[in-house]
Amino acid sequence: MSLLEFARGPALEWSLIIFCFGLLWRIIGAMFLLRKGDISKPRRNKPIRDGWTGIISRSAPAEAFEASIRFQHITGYAWHIALFVSVLFFAPHIEFFESVLGFSWPNLPNTAILFTAAVATGVLLALLIRRATHPVQRLISNADDYISIFVVLVPLITGIAAFAHIGARYETLLAVHLLSVELMFVWFPFGKLMHSAMTFPARWEAGTQFGRRGVKA
């Protein structure tokens, strides 16, 4: 079995098994946690509207903080948009998703993907450097932060190398790229990458709680 066959076969299957297991464990576990009982009369009873308000209002920083967190604000959006475009609209990625999900969607030109992947890599590197050098960020960062950045950064770098055929033969680069993605799948449910699944439900929950208490979300 070649490295590529291993990456496309057993390694992929087991990484996705761990990913699905961990993802459901974390999500269901969080959903069924005990919450405090409703011991007061809600100020207003519009949980859906409050939930959406929570999601939308937290998608931009509060005006008072905007000036001090502009860098994180802009780079955060640049990084996530560039990453999603690179992952979701590259033709070989779509072929991969189709093999797992059973359906596909249109792709973008490779040159556009190369640009977004380069942006995502550059921004993530800048954020990593800032995290490692900024005194406050350094203080609040732990191993989970660095591991999570590493397991996302490596697929980006190996993906660009595979696309550009830099450093080794294509099949080796493709195998290393797939293995790095599989490492991310394995780490995903157990580290801070889980925010991808938890962010919006958490904002929704916060929005409904604030609404119930009559607090501006």
Binding site: R8, I17, I28, A30, E95, F96, V100, E171
Partner: protein, 353 residues
């Protein structure tokens, strides 16, 4: 061609002009990635070369490799050079049969001991020697005997080079490649199903010119011919870059000649010279005919996944395992949440007390 005749004399007798011969030498030097200054050396060596003895053994194969090498549209300098080797044994092509043929092989091996080139096409069954025999001799025994005193071995075709189709799962005959058996002789793998004719003549030209084996890649293939993948040299590559793909074999993209990646083309992981040397006198190659590369020059290409599955697609059994994992994860999630609830309730009760 008489045995005492050199190649230059033979080609002149066949009507090949000096200009035509030098053109071939230039092309051969270029194919072998030699500098222009080497053309004169190639011409000198080829013109004065004595015909090398070649013994061709065909084992578990379909004769496609022989067909590829002999069924060119018109006589070319390459084919004339191929004719000019002393093909002392090839049971498909030779007129002699039975004991006469075997006697010719044994005589050639004795007469040219240590100098003859052994060409092998087809894989060798080792589970049971009786699966494939020639004149009652098993392929394994014949290969070992013929390899013992040869100068070098050229494994022609993917079956001889890597086991090929006979070695595909479940490999009922225990088929193996030449290199799995012979360890003490230089082996040049000229893989492909079938290999490109000019590659085998290029390898022979290298022998005749330098008396050595050419530079080989990690799989024992001549780098000059197998150094680059099909994808890098494919004329459809610009469509890949633009993200323009044929989705089916008869859609608009297919008619416009767009990239065949989504239809399972293995060009990115296949190393061969099809996109540059091409087939049928340089007329075209499979991708030019509208079908993706199936990766036939790579080891175990038959078991590499479906010919029509894209390279980036996952290669695994089913989604049931994922559903099972998700169900197990959900169960553990519920269990851990219930345990947490229980702990919390207990803590709250203790707090109230």
């Amino acid at each position: 061609m008489r045995k005492d005749q050199n190649l230059g004399d033979y080609l002149r007798l066949q009507g090949v002009s000096r200009r035509g011969f030098l053109k071939f030498c230039s092309a051969t030097a270029s194919l072998m990635a030699l500098p222009p200054s080497a053309v004169a050396q190639v011409a000198e060596a080829l013109a004065t070369a004595r015909r090398p003895s070649v013994i061709w053994l065909s084992f578990q194969e379909c004769t496609g490799c022989t067909e590829s090498l002999t069924r060119s549209h018109a006589p070319t300098v390459e084919s004339l050079i191929f004719d000019a080797i002393s093909l002392d044994y090839h049971h498909t092509l030779q007129a002699a049969a039975g004991h006469g043929a075997e006697a010719a092989r044994e005589a050639a091996m004795e007469e040219n001991s240590g100098e003859y080139i052994l060409v092998v096409d087809g894989s060798i069954p080792i589970d049971n020697p009786a699966y494939s025999t020639i004149a009652g001799i098993s392929n394994l025994d014949m290969l070992k005997e013929a390899a013992e005193h040869c100068f070098a071995i050229v494994a022609v075709g993917t079956c001889a080079a890597f086991g090929g189709l006979p070695g595909a799962q479940p490999n009922p005959t225990g088929a193996v490649a030449v290199g799995d058996i012979i360890k003490d002789k230089p082996i040049i793998n000229v893989s492909g199903c079938p290999p490109i004719p000019v590659v085998i003549t290029g390898v022979l030209a290298h022998f005749l010119t330098f008396g050595t084996i050419p530079e080989l890649d990690a799989l024992g293939r001549p780098v000059a011919f197998f150094g680059q993948n099909i994808h890098d040299r494919c004329y459809r590559r610009p469509f890949y870059e633009r993200g323009e793909f044929a989705e089916t074999f008869d859609d608009e993209g297919a008619r416009k000649g767009w990239c065949l990646y989504k239809l399972g083309c293995k060009g990115p992981t296949t190393y061969n010279a099809c996109a540059t040397l091409k087939w049928n006198q340089g007329t075209g190659f499979p991708i030019q005919a509208g079908h993706g590369c199936i990766g036939c020059s790579e080891p175990r290409f038959w078991d590499y996944g479906g010919f029509y599955e894209p390279i980036s697609a996952g290669k695994w059994g089913s989604r049931e395992a994922l559903l099972g994992a998700a169900a197990a994860g959900a169960a553990v999630g519920i269990g851990s949440a219930l345990a947490a609830r229980s702990r919390k309730k207990k803590a709250m009760a203790e707090e109230e007390v």
